[in-house]
Symmetry: C2
Subunit: 405 residues, 2 copies
């Protein structure tokens, strides 16, 4: 029998009426003759509320305890959705992450799924149940509750779909799918009917928050097609998959942007071995994620080194970097927390240098200064002033003809 | 090493500050050189709030799902108390009912503890941890979450104390212990320093809500002393135990009352075999708890039969009873939902008939009509009008000299 795994995010189960709406959608799938497993996130702001409550008691809660605390949000929504299905006369049962067989490593708060043992799910499906699984959580080998980190319910859904050999993993959220750019910034932005895993991964990593990057990775690994669609309507959404239609090759597929960017530049760095380690080791130890790193060509063995961090990490990063700057005898260290990333994404761009040139010329024509440039196989990213983001997005969207079907 | 099990109720962990208060009390025990296991209830009104939320979605939720939903309340409070202890620099770990080894039968919503396997608790204690256990919950043999019913956290605490061979189970609540009568009704009511299990059981069953009757039964079964005291002060509380001081024998120990009483009387019942079954079987099937049952002596094979139910069950009971009344050709069926129970409780009363006579005479002198009388080994209960309860309690408290130490 055909099997579908669906996931509903926090806004889709935000209150009693929305939960009933999800129940109707789920029941319709079951009544069409398909088996269905549903993964749910915590209702609305539950997770944030629990974090706030815990901070009142301990500003730095131990991750093991925080994981148990936060896992309750998904237990609540999964039982409520099950009750809503019962009220409609449907057979359904809720399972915690542990009961669903989601075994993780012991890295609390950002655990990775090690293995899924879906025996219980299979048994419940065989008994005619719709199975509702609490997302975002699993169990370590010590039988302790773990959570998969923000957006982990997406990962739960795609991993379960792979483990159960489902036909598809459907991720329902509050937007209509993946767009060529953020529609709030670019009014002409279009929904993509399909997108490749690697393109989606770049989109997700670069700020298109429609889906969690890890879930895309899992989908790619098991070649599990993923539908991203809206839980409040019946629009078709976007399919993420590995196949490439010939006509979408060698094209810019989408433009992503990220406003949470700050740049730190160390000026006049003596160019000798070990300097980079001196700078980046203490940042890693302080759990500061360093993103783009650019070092210019050295002149007279003196170089400039720039990197980006999340804006919330700037002060902490500077307090760590400043003593290092002195000790390595660099000239200065400056920061700018008013920057943003704009990226064009598309498979095959690496074989067509024209894309980069077009991107840089378009920004130049709009009078937009480029602070840093980085590229990957399928992406070109420019760091620009946040004030220029909207202008840049709209100009790039137009020049790469993303408004045309 | 000395081991203490403490339990803190919902009002004791009602907000962040109260949780910190409990953490300080718990830390003091640990710092005094004792091992300690703490059982917590859900914060304040959490359980009621979750029930209300579920009713919006399904007025009759399946007990399995309701149990998972309600169990989250204790998971939350147990992690928060653990975080509060960490903030004080104490070693502590939270465990769910399942992790604490509390194995129950599969009767969702009112599961009974079948066995406790405290391996994990013992391991954590050996590692120097204060162990915080989520009360009220366990795990069935199917590895599903079960709850023990209202007040179940008391049962968790006493059962864990028995299983771990603790020195004592301490139940902390928002009152100072067990009183000779409800202090809101009888200003002279005194805290009892000690009380026997069987006396406490009668007190608890008859409306002294300070402790759950099942927890007292478990305490009696394993001869585990129980302290009932207030979490907001250091008053000594009341010890519940099996020992009997000579001086407290043959005395009324306390007076309990219960306002949630309705009487149903069937008048002119033909006195023949099987009639009682005809009446009470359908009530039992409808899950209506029938309490006191009194049948007067039959005259010409016609008797009157009265029984009490909770007030919320009166209408349902009448709708079930009325057809039976017709079919057995009884004369009439009347109900009164304005009644109350007043009981005097004390070991050894059965050997001293003077207590009953004193009770009846005292009520008579106050002009109080007695509707029904029932007795047990250690209790005499009169059903009277609710309007007379305060007068009755104060008069009985005085005549049995409960105001005197």
């Amino acid at each position: 029998m055909s099997l579908i795994v669906q996931k509903y995010g926090g806004t889709s189960v935000g209150d009693a009426d929305k939960i009933k709406n999800v129940a109707r959608r789920v029941a319709a799938v079951k009544n069409s003759g398909k088996n269905i497993v549903v993964v749910v996130s915590a209702m609305g702001d539950t997770t944030d509320d629990l974090i706030e409550l815990s901070r009142k008691i301990n500003p730095n809660p131990e991750p093991r305890e925080l994981d148990v605390l936060l896992s309750t949000g998904e237990l609540i929504s999964s039982t409520l959705l099950t009750m809503a299905l019962h009220a409609m006369g449907m057979k359904a049962i809720s399972l915690s992450g542990a009961q669903a067989g989601i075994e993780t490593d012991g890295l609390y708060s950002h655990a990775r799924i090690v293995h899924i043992e879906p025996k219980r799910i299979v048994k419940e499906l065989e008994q005619g149940n719709i199975v509702i699984v609490a997302g975002f959580q699993g169990m370590s080998s010590d039988r302790d509750v773990t959570t998969l980190g923000r957006g982990g319910s997406d990962t739960t859904a795609v991993a379960l779909a792979a483990s159960l050999k489902a036909d598809i993993a459907e991720i329902y959220t509050d937007v209509d799918g993946v767009f060529t750019a953020d529609p709030r910034m670019v009014p002409d932005a279009r929904r993509l009917e399909e997108i490749r895993y690697d393109e989606m991964l770049e989109m997700a990593t670069l700020g298109a928050k429609v889906m969690h990057p890890r879930a895309v990775e899992v989908g790619e690994l098991y070649n599990m097609p993923i539908l991203v669609a809206c839980s409040f309507n019946n629009n078709p959404g976007t399919i993420i998959h590995g196949g490439v239609s010939m006509e979408i090759r060698n094209k810019v597929r989408g433009i992503a942007h990220d406003l949470n960017v700050a740049k730190i530049s160390i000026i006049g760095v003596p160019d000798r071995p070990g300097i980079a380690a001196n700078i980046f080791d203490p940042l890693a130890k302080a759990n500061i994620s360093v993103d783009t790193i650019v070092q210019n060509a050295s002149v007279n063995n003196i170089a400039d080194l720039s990197f980006t961090v999340a804006r919330s990490d700037v002060d902490k990063a500077l307090s760590i970097i400043n003593p290092v700057v002195k000790s390595i005898k660099a000239r200065d260290c400056v920061s700018d927390a008013t920057l943003a990333k704009v990226s064009i994404i598309g498979t095959g761009m690496q074989n067509a240098p024209g894309y980069a040139a077009t991107m840089f010329r378009t920004l130049y024509e709009k009078g937009i200064n480029i602070h840093l440039i980085t590229t990957s196989e399928i992406r070109i990213t420019c760091i620009i002033s946040e004030d220029n983001v909207k202008t840049a997005l709209q100009a790039l969207h137009k020049v790469f003809e993303l408004d045309k079907a």
